[in-house]
């Protein structure tokens, strides 16, 4: 990266002397380029419109992690174990033993039966024939369906129903402990067994809303319906992606208003907005052409692209307005603006892109996709906002009002900049540094509580007060169940999964786990065998044990749920229910299993981690914690290197990077304090924040250096810096902040977390550049030496 101009002591960034080749190429072929852009926009725009939402489960998990490899390898064996919906039908007043309630429940059961995707043979409710009561008699077993024969809704038959429910063993499972609600349990087909088509989660979830919730809550005002299950959650997520369109609208509107307030020029407002929207279309179109869909993470990238586009557009408008105020015509103003900006602009954008690309180190596809989408977007912004934007402006020019605005505000503005330039004052700088050190200390102190993973109850993807999580809380409160399941897969040679030793080993593992903090309960074939052995011995608890007699074991598990044995009996799962999905809970459980597996595996049985939502989260957490430091090192390494290559000074690197570091630490402290963990959604924030945040420093420092080399004192140089670029930098910070702040209202929790943190990062990095950079410069830079060195090399 040797640069002859730099070697001569001139800064290649800020003082391109002649018309560079690129400028000639672009401005001498304006029409050709605009037509080419038009065609490209039509083509990519067409593709952008056709892009599909994609909430693929696999892309959100670390596919390289051994747990996930195990899980995917045995996916077919575990089928249907986790994929079901539970529909709790609650009676608002009174209990479930009324004719009206039972009638509605019957209709709902029938309706669910006919929903596309439901495994009808596994459907369970009080009204299905597989829900039975059993009683031991002298002759053996006696039993029947829970709905009594000849049920007619009369008081007698309701009383018989109540008796059957009490002896059915389903209280706490299908019937809530308080008898105010019952569950319709519907296992789902991952793939339609007839057509082989995968389940359409969005459609299924919509049907649950329309055909079940809306219809029956409307029909019977005494009924509340609560629905939980993976399919419903994914459906809600996909719907959440849709609502992002509103945020896009609000963001564009806010940005436009702000831009107009800034430039007071219609052209200077609409053209950057237009160019940035073009950038978004290109980015989406290119993504689709590359085979990507819009997942809940990458859907946020267009916002970033838009905001970055605007922030660079502002620089163009700013520069053009200045040139125009000097009396240049639009085309000359545009050329001068281009000449002044294309190198620092490209440098800033390239450093953004490198910041994003460090995300590729994290072995989770959505994050990699995010890196690609954001990197691509930034590359596009170089074309749209550094080329297209000045080109269009060269035809339109800044309006007279815009030019007047630049001329008028000079005096008033200067007083403000004069005040702010005190950040470089020898008396103020130490105070600033002291505050920064205190802030750093406080940040380091609070960030000790920073946790990996998701910290809230319920489905972490959705908000705590979302319909889904409220439903989930209802079901957890009223039924004996947990939403956080870790699945340990026990692998045996074929046809050996029910052997005595295997059950015994599983039972031992389960007891170890149940004695592990954070584990609520567990279920496996061993429990089924013990319970049924007890039942086969006239319900006598003294027989609650795994029999050594294989014939008895086989009899005891004949009716075991299908998910507990795979087709050739070589795999049987242990389901471990956890109290929550905090990283510590997961870690403790997982390491208990690993320790047990190390001591108790044999040729007969090995213990494989992990499936279930908790298994996936445990794997994700491991990947995230090991990637976190690596990513930080790379992103700071790349940014520092770029700064060093640009300014050839370690001191410059420190001036620019230290404020970023302070922001990163404070961001982590804020995460710790507000209960946001490091997870798939928040890890990229750090890379994005640093990658984009460095732009401010680059703009400020390059100007500051320029004025110092002109022989000004530090404070004077900083005053000039603020005057020329300070406003654009502040504006950029605010625009970027506005670009992401609307996400805070997203129904998807992690989008809200990302929005909140990025908002903080963008704004605070800007503050760091304006406030802390000059203070550091006061201590680190030696203007006289810089000048001497520059003169000497001349």
């Amino acid at each position: 990266m040797s640069n002859p101009k730099h070697d001569k002591g001139e800064h290649y960034l800020t003082t391109p002397k002649a018309e560079p080749f690129l400028e000639r190429l672009i401005f001498n072929n304006r029409v050709v380029i605009l037509v080419a852009f038009l065609i490209l926009t039509l083509f990519l725009g067409y593709n952008a419109v056709k892009i599909q939402p994609d909430a693929s489960f696999e892309r959100m998990i670390p596919l390289e992690h051994p747990y996930i490899i195990n899980m995917l390898e045995h996916r077919d064996d575990l089928e249907n174990l986790g994929n079901f919906v539970r529909i709790a039908v609650e009676s608002r007043e009174g209990d479930i033993f009324t004719q009206e309630y039972m009638e509605t429940l019957k209709e709902i059961t029938d309706e669910v039966f006919y929903l596309n995707g439901v495994d009808r043979s596994g459907l369970k409710s009080l009204w299905t024939s597989n829900v039975r009561w059993v009683e031991v008699t002298e002759q053996g077993f006696q039993g029947g369906t829970v709905i009594p024969d000849g049920y007619d809704g009369s008081r007698e038959s309701l009383e018989a129903l109540r008796q059957n429910v009490l002896r059915s063993n389903e209280v706490g499972r299908l019937i809530s402990d308080n008898f105010r609600s019952t569950i319709v349990y519907a296992p789902l087909y991952e793939k339609n067994p007839e057509t082989g088509e995968p389940l359409d989660y969005a459609d299924f979830s919509r049907q649950l809303e329309e055909k079940i919730r809306d219809k029956y809550e409307g029909q019977n005002p005494n009924i509340d319906i609560h629905i939980v299950g993976f399919a419903k959650k994914v459906g809600d997520l996909i719907e959440g992606i849709g609502s992002i369109a509103y945020f896009a609208g609000i963001t564009i509107l806010l940005t436009t208003l702000l831009l107009f307030w800034y430039s007071r020029c219609i052209a200077g407002t609409l053209v950057p907005v237009f160019s940035s929207i073009i950038a978004v279309f290109w980015q989406l179109g290119a993504l689709r052409l590359l085979g990507y869909g819009l997942d809940p993470y990458s859907v946020l990238v267009p916002f970033l692209v838009f905001a970055i586009g605007i922030s660079h557009g502002v620089q163009v408008v700013n520069a053009m307005a200045m040139e125009a105020s000097k009396g240049f015509d639009p085309i000359t103003a545009a050329r001068l603006a281009f000449r002044a900006l294309y190198i620092p602009g490209m440098l800033a954008l390239i450093s953004d892109a490198f910041g994003f690309l460090t995300l590729l180190f994290i072995e989770i596809d959505v994050i990699k996709d995010l890196a690609v989408a954001a990197g691509l977007g930034v590359a596009i912004v170089i074309i749209t906002n550094l080329v297209l934007h000045p080109l269009i402006m060269s035809y339109i020019g800044i309006t007279a009002g815009g030019v007047r605005h630049v001329q008028n505000r000079g005096e008033k503005q200067d007083r403000k900049w004069r005040l702010l330039s005190n950040f470089a004052h020898p008396a103020v700088a130490p105070v600033s540094l002291l505050i920064a050190v205190i802030g750093l200390g406080a940040g380091l102190y609070f960030k000790q509580d920073l946790k990996v993973g998701d910290l809230d109850q319920g489905a972490p993807e959705l908000r705590a007060d979302s319909r889904y999580n409220k439903d989930n809380a209802y079901i957890i409160d009223n039924y004996s169940t947990s939403a956080d399941v870790l699945v340990v897969m026990v692998k045996t040679p074929p046809e050996m999964c029910t052997q005595y030793n295997v059950l015994r080993a599983m039972d031992k593992l389960q007891w170890e786990l149940q004695n592990t903090p954070g584990v609520q309960s567990s279920v496996s074939l061993a429990d089924v065998s013990k319970i049924v052995t007890k039942a086969l011995n006239e319900g006598n608890w003294k027989w609650f044990e795994i029999s050594r007699n294989q014939t008895i074991i086989n009899a005891s598990i004949r009716e075991a749920p299908a998910g507990l044995i795979n087709t050739n009996c070589s795999l049987t799962p242990v389901l471990v229910f956890l109290e929550d999905h905090k990283a510590e809970t997961l870690e403790t459980a997982v390491s208990a299993v690993e320790a047990f597996a190390a001591d108790n595996s044999s040729e007969e049985h090995t213990f494989l981690l992990a499936a279930g939502n908790a298994g996936v989260e445990a794997a994700t957490n491991e990947v995230i914690s090991s990637a976190k430091d690596m990513m930080l090192i790379f992103v700071y390494g790349v940014v520092s290197l770029l700064c060093f290559l640009t300014f050839r000074s370690i001191r410059a690197v420190i001036c620019i990077v230290v404020p970023l570091g302070l922001t990163s630490v404070l961001c982590e402290a804020i995460m710790a304090v507000s209960g946001i963990g490091i997870k798939v959604a928040t890890l990229p924030v750090i890379a994005l924040g640093v990658g984009i945040g460095v732009d401010y420093g680059i703009y400020i420092y390059s100007k500051l250096e320029k004025y110092l080399l002109e022989g000004k004192t530090l404070q004077e140089a900083y005053f000039e810096t603020l005057r020329s670029t300070g406003k654009a930098v502040i504006f950029t910070g605010v625009t970027l902040g506005l670009g992401v702040v609307t996400w805070i209202f997203s129904p998807i929790k992690f989008q809200a977390d990302m929005g909140f943190l990025l908002f903080f990062m963008f704004l605070w990095n800007m503050v760091g550049a304006i406030w802390l950079l000059p203070a550091l410069a006061r201590f680190l830079l030696r203007p006289d030496r810089m000048l001497a060195k520059a003169r000497a090399s001349k």
Partner: protein, 382 residues
Amino acid sequence: MATWKMRETLGAACLGFSMALSAPAAFALADIIETPARKTDLAPQSLLNDADRAGERVVAVGERGHIIYSDDEGQTWKQASVPVAVTLTAVDFSTDRDGWAVGHSGVILHSSDAGASWELQLTGIQAAELAIESKETRIGEMEVQIEEAPEDQKEDLEWALDDLIFSVENMKADLKIGPVNPLLDVWFEDAEHGFAVGAYGMFLRTLDGGASWQDWAPNLDNPSGYHLNGIARITGDALVVVGEAGQIHSSVDGGETWELRDSPYTGSLFGVTGTGQVNEVLAFGLRGNVLRSTDIGRSWVTVANDNGATLNGSAVASDGRISLVGNGGVVLMSTDAGQTFSEHVRSDREGIMDAVPISGNRLLLLGEGGVKLTDARGRNPQ
């Protein structure tokens, strides 16, 4: 040494077991009768099957080799060290310090420190070997008997002999698998003399505090090998054993000889208790059946009980109050020596296996959900 011999046979049995699987494991799991019970805070909340008093102390046994004891009327519990991790089914203390616990895999454990620590006295392997030995002796006797018997009796005897041979073969086959059958109850008269009963007619006696055991099954009229579920001594010193198919056996000579009583019920009886009155017996079991006798079981009356839940355990308090407990959270109470009962169904509906009367007219209930401290009726304290 009895224990030494036991280890040997156990080793041989395990070898046989793994050979039967034809794939000896690299790190075979230690057998459950060689695995000490894991120390756990969960024991008082896990399944407990039976309890008894060792002096003032309450000792309870349950799943996974759990034995817990309390010196403060059930407020706090400590877990004993137990050399096995099988489900234990019953416990009995004959002195303040000497107690025995029995359970699955035919284990008999002994404690001489009021339940704080336990040692293994017998496993199902030895119990089965004892039974096989006595059956083979009986086969030899019968073969002689058949030779000498008159022609018209020969056929019946040969049938009986075939049954016996078949059952020995079965037991030998089971023995290859391991100690398959559980003991279900135990009772000791003093520090030396005691009995244990169990599945498929297992019936063992010791005269030396469990150092050696005899197969006592031949002394009981139970040719079909029905399960024996409970044994108790009633006021007046008679012994009663109850079991599957409504069996009731009684002995008035300390267990030397036993007599099968006519039973008005053909379902399983799970427990038996005296009422505190001389020669009175209550037997109870499947579907809430309660039988009462005032003459050591010669005649019975059926006690009315509307609740159809199986009854598992009993307790007689010092004031004569009798409690019967069972599945589905049922607690029955009688204040007239078992002639009539009033019922309370606990809202948790968990199965209750046994009850222990404690100070202040209260009960300790033990069962599916561990220990519960309740009032005399089985209700949770207010």
